[in-house]
Symmetry: C2
Subunit: 393 residues, 2 copies
């Protein structure tokens, strides 16, 4: 029978660049910055690294496993590139974790990096063309997620005004948190009125419902859990690491459900089982989730069983997911404030979890978190791969 990697792998160091319009940085520059912060955080040197995994999505910049090797001078070390759409960062963590768990390396580096601003997709927020050959190919990312929003409003009987207001709580919360995060791209609070009246990208999603287009990189250093305390008193242990894919077939069925993401629900379920969590709403201390669009954060709250189906509105309105709420979500500011440099995102979420669990998050510090969950999604509502990682001290 298959075994869990729970408590077999530990994160001993993390690094993260400032995210933003980094016109003066190449992908290599960002990799170096994130890696050296992680090495410093772990108190180790580059020569201690046995192997490395690079997460990178954008093909045009040409960053490969070998490119990572050249960038860092990892001469004669094993290097690999992982790509799994917008879930690339967390899948990079997953593959490297297996290598640590099976014992072939003592210490490995994972880096996710992406430059979106140089790619010519800087026009509209997250307006990346989707290449999957299915019925909804011609629809942009905001258009697809807007369909989730209108489907959700319809299914749960929300008027357009009620639905729009519900969603608007999400960016207000994220910008409140992100304004306190020195590494975030967008660091300004916004009001409910500003969000509700912002220019529409694809109704009901306005500009504040869409994450930005940013450059950034994040890195982590992994060792076997049994070795971790040799490096620091407060390593962060991987309690669960699950990934689930729901390919495009779903979009072709007349009964396809645009009001939940089955792969997210299943990845969450598997992660809770692996971590031994029975009541996620009670037991998960905080979460960083894939809020590429506000509706996705709302629906993910239900898929991850933080809110009952159709009831996320109540939790959003009561502030349950706020920094001082029962289950803070996007304490970092989320994709909303960091943008979504594709392969960096999953590891940027892990970075925030380590800061929070180690009590280093400054003014946005969550009170005494025990278990943090990251949810990283690749694809779109009808064709996706979702990774859930649960970490704790």
């Amino acid at each position: 029978m298959a075994e869990s990697i729970k408590d077999k792998v530990a994160v001993i160091g993390v690094g993260c660049t400032n995210f933003g319009e980094l016109w003066d940085k190449s992908v290599s520059d960002m990799i170096v910055d994130a890696t050296y912060e992680a090495l410093g955080d772990a108190g180790v040197e580059l020569k201690d690294i046995d192997a490395a995994w690079i997460g990178h999505w954008c093909e045009t910049s040409g960053m490969t496993g070998l490119g990572l090797s050249g960038t860092l001078g990892l001469q004669y070390k094993p290097v690999t590139r992982i790509e799994n759409a917008c879930a690339t960062g967390s899948d990079c963590l997953r593959n490297a974790s297996y290598a640590i768990a099976c014992g072939v390396y003592d210490m490995v580096l994972v880096v996710g990096a992406e430059k979106l601003k140089d790619m010519g997709i800087a026009g509209l927020p997250n307006q990346v063309p989707l290449g999957t050959p299915n019925l909804i190919t011609a629809i942009s990312a905001p258009g697809l997620f807007a369909m989730m929003a209108t489907s959700y409003f319809h299914r749960y009987g929300l008027s357009p005004q009620e639905g729009k207001r519900m969603l608007s709580h999400i960016p207000v919360k994220s910008h409140h948190n992100g304004a306190m995060n020195p590494k975030a791209h967008f660091r300004r609070e916004v009001t409910l009125e500003q969000v509700m009246n912002s220019p529409i990208i694809a109704w009901p999603l306005g500009i504040f419902d869409c994450c930005g287009t940013s450059d950034g990189a994040a890195a982590a250093i992994l060792v076997r859990a049994s070795e971790a305390k040799k490096f620091r008193p407060d390593p962060v242990y991987i309690k669960a690491l699950q990934i689930c894919a729901n390919p495009a077939d779903g979009a072709r069925r007349n009964d396809f459900d645009f009001t939940h993401i089955e792969a997210c629900y299943r990845a969450g379920l598997a992660a809770y089982k692996e971590a031994g969590i029975k009541n996620p709403r009670q037991e998960v201390s905080m979460a960083e989730v894939h809020d590429c669009f506000s509706i996705n954060e709302a629906i993910v709250m239900e898929d991850l069983q933080f809110s009952p189906r159709g009831k996320v509105k109540d939790d959003l309105e009561s502030g349950f997911f706020n920094l001082d709420g029962g289950l803070p979500v996007q304490a970092s500011g989320g994709l909303k404030c960091f943008g979504h440099p594709v392969a960096a995102t999953g590891l940027r979420m892990l970075y925030e979890m380590c800061q929070q669990l180690q009590g280093k998050a400054g003014p946005r510090q969550v009170k005494n978190p025990k278990l943090g969950l990251t949810e990283n999604m690749g694809g779109h509502p009808a064709d996706n791969v979702v990774s859930c990682v649960i970490v704790g001290l």
Copy 2:
């Protein structure tokens, strides 16, 4: 201390499409063909697969982890895409092997697939533009490997005629073997005179020194070694699996050595240590290596310690690497006869090893092989990543 995965992972099924100009097959078609042959070979069903890894290099065809999931209908299963240049296939095997070795899955699928004929790089053999930003960027692949050949001739005092003749033995041997392989792209014997007088691509490399441009896919199914005999009496065990990268810095040094590939030497050394091999020339029964160009096969013979430095000529002329020689190399026909659909190659080599070790290679069967080595190289002489895998019954 790091542990070996020796004898922890077994291959219970392999599949391989015919390689060639598969104008009527999409990448998805080829994936399906290779996967179902592997499932049939293992005597298992798709539903038994817990997770899958897709190796794919060419970005334009858009095959992702999610694409593999959709292609095969692997609904709600974990999927990942690996890319590591021309070593993508073997690195895919490596990452999946770690997942099996650490116990998180009971049975996984690895597939490598590539369509080169549709990509517009079908003009000259293996004339793929190389994107690495180093001093030799503007040189084509044949041009780079031609530099190895002239450097090798110079270093070991071979006249142009002697060198050209030495190299020409390699395609003669490969075509002899490939002519007996129903899955090969090019299935015709060639004579030494034909090879020596063939049109020059980049001197001394003629058209017969260059592998072709082909489409193809190969797949394998992995389980933990302890479970393998439940599926078949003759599973193939992974005895060593090593990867080493030598990034482009080398090309910038005045003392860069174009007469050997350090990453290949080191990957081989590590693999021999892992497999417990003291004398590779004696103990390795057969090898499938990365003969993208004939000179690469010649030099790899020395890097893998099959021939002493500067002495591969003697072994080529004496037929040591022939099908009936002391150490048959490219029993399948190699990249020379299969072409090099990038991500398929490493797994296509594994396919041949399984056929040979299980005594199913028909007229090209090597006599009683015990240990087979595959060497899969990404990059070019001065900037590369090399994987060495050793398998045995």
